[in-house]
Symmetry: C2
């Protein structure tokens, strides 16, 4: 098989601020696999959740280094490919780009969408949340209003963990809660911006206001503090940055209620499925989330969405210039189509270099 | 989809005695699924490892009860089918029969063998052990000799846990060890026939004699005693009857080195794969085993065999009248073929009723 990669830059409609900083655009990696006359596509988006930031350059370089080692293999040789990727210690997002392309290729080769190949039921997909970044109360309220104008909002994720402290968090959250549509589910993601005492206090404050769950309240590395929080919190606790893959789950299963699976952390759909199985064996809840992914990677995650209790796959909805098409929004839910593989294409006006 | 079931009886070349008793024949269930002009086949074999024995009659009855509930579904509707099976609380072996047929159907529909659909590498399959049942030292030695005449023996599993005690176990084991072919791996399965003190003593005795691993030394229900055994044993400890499915793994992961996955316990290939993923996340080793399965179910397990450190899929080799064909023995390894689905057929002389 042959693979080639090219980068592309996507710009956000509204810059997004979380506890770690603000992003207005992202330069992602597009991987095109070709074998036997069929193309499979994958994507990697850079992110900073781990110890080593996974930059666009590092991801693209890793894939360039990998490409010649795959030439004598076919997309069916998944076990040998995984051995090669493990030996090279590729960044997880680089593995994701290839994994998505391998799955897309297989589904196209078999003329089946992945959700159907896996026997999943699209009617089980719950609404995706739309994300409200850290901002002033007025601006956050305005952001929710513009989301509501833009799409059907049945779930809202509020980013807290403001550098300005818990008072700022509460003021912004209270402002957003006023305008949440009736029946919509609200969750909070602190992106590790709180300490234990703050997280416990906020869990009660948020629980009193009907918030559904609380994501990554403590910074990665503070997993020992999850135990007392787990005991005290009236809200289910989900972890994101504290859990990259299935191997991280057993040690966390006694101190969280659920896991936020992201393809860029896991290394792709194969490992995401291993995380689903491991988390289920531990009785944990599941959600799927994203970084600055285009609709390509979010569509890939949507194929596994029937497993999830919560979905947060809205990054592509906040892009001005997504070059791809894929899963469609249906009454607030991101639903993969009947097209084979991932079901991803190029937007009519996409001007990606080399296409 | 339509399913129909029929029972068939297979007779052992040599009756097999384990700590719980002797079997000379088994009446198994053959499930035929039909949809869209394609047949998928599955098998259930009765077994007694759990609290409630899963009898042939109970399995067949459960499947008869299930059949009409599947009529409006297709083999792609795996998630809804699993919900129906869970709601009905079907015996695991009944679920296995349907799961195998669903996988066989899918592979035939896609014109791919399952190992290839899953991207697995058949060259990773390790030799299957051949089983020496509890017997006199002379008879056990003779059994090994007849195995060696019958097939290439690269791994031997010795059944211990004799009702006559540890001296009888040691005498029989010592006799068999004398005739094990050079380079062949030897393992011991006590089928829960020992207490903690006996298991610790035997782990040292067997370790001194080069045995590779020790399976289910203690009876199910005695899992608390696995902790001291785990600390004391020089041999890796595998569990079988103590672990049916992925949900059983987390509580055992701190006290065993590996899991024996059997399709009849798990409920099929789907749950076996969930067990593989959960066990891998816990850093556990894996093996695949069988009950009185024909080559149909053993071939299904062989498709997942590239994941396993040890393989014990020899029950069909000890059948006089296996009605099926499937995976073939290649230099001591049970290897699935290039045929689509499970790659299982009827033997030329099979006289199953209704065919």
């Amino acid at each position: 098989m042959q693979i080639r990669v090219q980068t592309f830059t996507v710009n956000k409609r509204v810059p997004l601020t979380i506890s770690r900083g603000t992003t207005a655009q992202s330069t992602n990696v597009w991987l095109i696999l070709e074998h036997d006359g069929i193309e499979g596509w994958g994507e990697a988006s850079p992110f900073e959740a781990g110890r080593t930031p996974q930059t666009t350059a590092a991801i693209a370089q890793a894939l360039q280094y990998l490409a010649p080692k795959l030439i004598d293999l076919t997309p069916y040789d998944r076990q040998p490919i995984d051995v090669i990727m493990a030996d090279l210690k590729l960044p997880s997002a680089a593995r994701t780009a290839l994994d998505l392309a391998l799955h897309d290729w297989l589904g196209k080769r078999l003329d089946l969408p992945l959700w159907q190949l896996w026997g999943l039921d699209r009617r089980r997909i719950v609404p995706t949340s739309v994300t409200i970044g850290i901002n002033t109360p007025d601006a956050a309220q305005q952001r929710l209003r513009s989301w509501i104008e833009f799409t059907t909002v049945r779930a809202v994720k509020i980013k807290l963990g403001s550098p300005e402290g818990l008072d700022a968090d509460q003021a912004m959250c209270a402002a957003v809660l006023k305008d949440v549509p009736d029946g919509a589910k609200v969750s909070v993601d602190a992106n590790g911006g709180w300490d234990l005492a703050g997280a416990i206090a906020m869990s009660h404050w948020l629980g009193d206001r009907g918030v559904t769950y609380l994501e990554q309240p403590l910074a990665p590395g503070n997993e020992q503090d999850l135990l007392p929080l787990y005991r005290e919190s009236p809200l289910p606790i989900f972890i994101d940055e504290s859990c990259f893959n299935s191997f991280n789950i057993p040690a966390l299963a006694d101190r969280v209620h659920g896991i936020n699976i992201k393809l860029m952390k896991s290394g792709g759909l194969s490992e995401a499925l291993r995380m689903v199985h491991t988390a289920q064996a531990h009785g944990l809840q599941l959600m799927f989330g994203c970084y600055s992914d285009s609709i390509l990677a979010n569509t890939a995650a949507a194929h596994l969405a029937p497993f999830a209790h919560h979905i947060d796959l809205d990054s592509h909805l906040n892009l001005l210039d997504d070059p791809f098409t894929g899963a469609t929004m249906q009454d607030g839910c991101l639903v993969p189509t009947d097209l084979p593989g991932l079901g991803v294409g190029l937007t009519p006006v996409a001007s990606l270099r080399g296409r």
